[in-house]
Amino acid sequence: MLKNKFERLELKEDEYIELVHLFVLTSRSDINKLQSAINSNDTEKVSMIAHSLKGAAVNLGLEEFFELAKIIEEKARDGQLEKTAETAYIFQNKLDGIADIINS
């Protein structure tokens, strides 16, 4: 699944895995920050964090994460924080999924 992604970036598999590993670590911490921003109704901060998640995902070719971060960003801008919380939860689950793949 990840093969065409690192080939597209002309990286070696271990280099790409290192980047995805970093993506998982930083995204987990970002999602935590995002959840506390949702709890304090800070829509500006939510969309800022989502924007950064989106930027990282797109550079690594992780389209699923990009789409989810995009939804979070847009919904936060619209003030729909309930929807962003739901999507953040899906994002988090997907992170666990990709973490399992790279750890195996």
Partner: protein
Amino acid sequence: MENQGRNDNEKNTENSRHQKLSVIRPLELPETKNSAHILLAEDNPINQKLAKMMLIKAGYQVETADTGKEALDKFITSSGGFDLVFMDMQMPEMDGIEATYHIRKWEAKSIAPSLMLNGKEGEDLSTSIFELTPHRKRVPIIALTANAIKGDKEKCLEGGMDDYITKPINRDILFEVIEKWVSSAKLSGVSPI
């Protein structure tokens, strides 16, 4: 039938040309450019690492900064100077535009003592500053922008940047811009006095 055959031939030639290009391209970068020293200012750790990996693999020497402030500090204190700066527009503490402003201001003081001669009479012309600074040329600064927002290019250029590339980071565009600016800067750079 004949036409069909010719089209196929054209297609084959086209295909083999593409293959040839993609095989040759990485070797086309002259060694001198690959030794270029690059400052990469990008706050997103993943994007920073990805760009750094790409640049190091191509043989460039890379220094990184997580904020505009760090980029400015590294730029000023670097002993050998940089050949090119990649500057993210949005960064915490100090954004790319502000860091560029300070870099240009510092460069103007360091590389153009003649401008200082036009300063107020009796002003310390600080030739010692000039002698101490290793930089002798205006370093190209390339903006990294998150999206191609209309007017963003103008904002970069007005802010003292030379060019911009949009994210996601594309390896070919990254190298193209280095080739464009590092060589031209070397050609038109202010010669040491």
